[in-house]
Amino acid sequence: MALVERETLALPSGASPGVAIEPLGVLARPHTKTGWRSWVSTVDHKKIGIMYGAAALMFFIVGGLEAMLIRIQLAQPNGTVLSADVYNQVYTMHGVTMVFLVIMPMAAAFANYLLPLQIGARDVAFPRLNALSFWMFLGGGLFFNTAWFVGGGGADCGWFCYAPNSGVVFSPTHGVDFYAVGLQIAGAASLIGAVNLIVTVLNMRAPGMTLFRMPVFTWMQLVVQFLLLFSLPVITVALFLLTFDRSFGANFFNISQGADPLLWQHLFWIFGHPEVYILILPSFGIVSEIIPTMSRKPIYGYPFMVFSGIAIGFMGWGVWAHHMFASGIGPISVAAFSLSTMFIAVPTGVKILNWMATMWGGKITFNTPMLFSAGLVAMFTIGGLSGVTHSVAPADTQQTDTYYIVAHFHYVLFGGALLGLFAGMYFWWPKAFGLMLNDRLGKVHFWLMLVGFNLTFGPMHILGLQGMSRRIQTYQPSDGFTFWNRVATFGVFWIATGMLVFLYNIYSSWSSWKKAGRPNPGADPWDARSLEWSIPSPTPEHNFDVVPEIHAQDDFWHRKYGEDEKGRAVRIAATEDVVQKGDATDVHLPSPSFYPLILASALPIIGYGVIFNRLIAIPGAVLFLFGLYGWAFEPATEPDDHAGDGGHGAHGGGDHDGAALAAPSTEEAHVG
């Protein structure tokens, strides 16, 4: 509903409206620019992006501790650290946390921060909905984790929560209820975010920024948002059916009534396979920005990069049942999905080759972001190849539910997605915070991660082929699993040390930066290619002083470099001369608001009501309505709110969420 957020039309003349402002909001409009109030009421895509990242890091630590518990339990035969029941909860919570509360929001952090910057916009299309997405994700994630304390234990059905294990009979605590409701809230948040970001990319590009001049990262995120848009409703259906079964006595997964447990598997994986690409494509986008920058070459085969991403997006819809080869779906289905799965490896292979061709012959700087990017290319290739072995159905029936599968998806999610996200953090840290992370500590972080990761997950290939099943609580000495399990547990401490180095790096880089008198890294510390580097670091609140006019792919690079007669890049302008100053004062920005937070906080309350007692839901519903109508009757932008000091409604006086941001086009001359 909130999508129909049409407020008054912007005044074409830019003149201030001549009517007095009615005080419409119930709550006073927040005005502070610093302190906690400025964060909880912000609608700025950059602050929201940073909050997404911080929340995801917090959940990463939670999920990482759960992973360490698993490894400690499996360090030796007959482990007694976790009981079988608690073990079920720990691996379930670990998986759900890492997929839905770490990688997805971390990717959303980059999408929020960078998409508007890379297309030359001042914010996303619906800034308040953007804030709502974040708060709903955070509320859903925290709600899900409160199952430990008030639900009688975490969810214990595995991250894909197959029926009938998810039913009340086999999972009598409230853990699964928290899974269903928590993911429902987080999923709705992602859906709103997807609509928001798609509209932003399609509608708010700077003049001249055609779709095929957009950076690859923006393209990959656009594909991801479309995948989210169309896949989330499927998991929404599945989760509703599960909640109705558990809370209202419906029969969707009641086998004794003739229900079919495969229905859950189909619905989950129709969502779940596009979800796999939702997790990996943002990282593909990130390294597609870093590798050309650090190799000082344009990305090799840009159209192939883009079209292979789109192809992955489409083909991702036709492969879901390869997760179900062992579920008895029949030989024709197995053969069809086996073939489609083999085909989807092709566009992924195209990407790997393009990255290598980009590096080929380039002047490569092996700094931390580049190391993580190269790490992704190598590790994802291993994970991709073991994935191809799953597409061979006879082999897959041997591998299903063994540690070989665990090894595979950690190689693509940790070795792929997560290494890419770390690469992105090191790369864009100066843009977001105005300081560089220490490169030497970064390299230590990288090598600890890479070695630890291979020590942990490499042996799992062997364990799986030896027959060790996943999710098994313990094993016997006679099974012959002991040695490689010890190695894996040894490796996890390397990863943990790497993470500690990373956290220390954040702290020490910040404190030495402060001691050195807060030196500014400059707008463009990496000599990079895309638009976000043409504005000061950290990004000013209004992003662009003037919205740039785009004449080519990698437009910013072409402002700095031209070609000599042999086709070599030669500098034609100093970076300082082509970057913006960030000193515009008369930019009209959407005003902060408390309502997204209020609306989002109502949902977990309603969730507790569904699970425990319908009476609890009543205050939640009241809060929801209050937030909704308060939101609806609060103008998106106060006419006198400005980023800078002076300048009253001189131009861009948009009064609805989007219009103010598509700012007047530039008079800046194109250099080069």
């Binding site: 509903m1 999508l3 129909v4 957020e5 049409r6 008054t8 039309l9 912007a10 074409p12 003349s13 830019g14 299309a125 619906f126 859906l191 997807a194 609509v195 928001n196 798609i198 509209v199 399609l202 509608n203 708010m204 590009r205 848009l229 169309f230 896949s231 989330l232 409703p233 499927v234 929404t236 259906v237 599945a238 509703f240 059916l241 109705f244 209202f248 006595g249 419906a250 029969n251 969707f252 009641n254 009534q257 003739g258 229900a259 079919d260 229905l263 619905l267 919205v547 609806a632 131009h651 861009g652 948009g654 609805h656 969420d657 989007g658 219009a659 598509a662 700012a663 007047p664 086009s665």
Partner: protein
Amino acid sequence: MAETLTASAEGGHAAHDDHGHETNTGITNEKLGMWLFLGSECLLFGGLISTFLLYKKKLDTFPGFENTTIVRLGRNVYDIPFTSVSSFVLLMSSLTMVLAVSALTRDDQRRMRTWLLATVFLGATFLAGQVYEFTAFVKEGLGFTTNIFSSAFYTLTGFHGAHVLIGIIILMTMFARSLQGKLRARNAETLEIAGLYWHFVDVVWVVIFVVVYLIK
């Protein structure tokens, strides 16, 4: 109506250099957002309809359940003439909805309010029909928890009914805004977007009526 929008979008393009409010696609953010949301909703209702179809068939073939009361209840409870009338009512509410939007683009407040109220009334009639139908089913012994068919049936039609209810609330809010004098021709698109949602709910019912009620 739509021609107006197209015309205004083009007019906006001409004025682009003066002020940068036009979007790249020429469609406002709100309208594009609504269409994206509706595209997403196709998969929501598709999932519910498929679940229903699957379980309707399952119930017929579940060993040991053939010809039991539960199965009989699961198959022959529909009152097709009644549902046809309520389908017709919902279809006509789509007509009154477009007429309301059309009146608003002319700033014809009186007609707009009349058609808007008519839409709300028709939608409410449809909902009342659904409540009547549910009550009749429950009296016959087909409750939400009775069997897989009934769970799927009530979930599907209930989700649709919830969408109708949300639509009614949106339209009533619009009506209140128009009484306050705040729904004018210049923001006709607000009503048009609400209308898109309303028509989509109608279109979903077109599918449900055939696939759930009529095809055996």
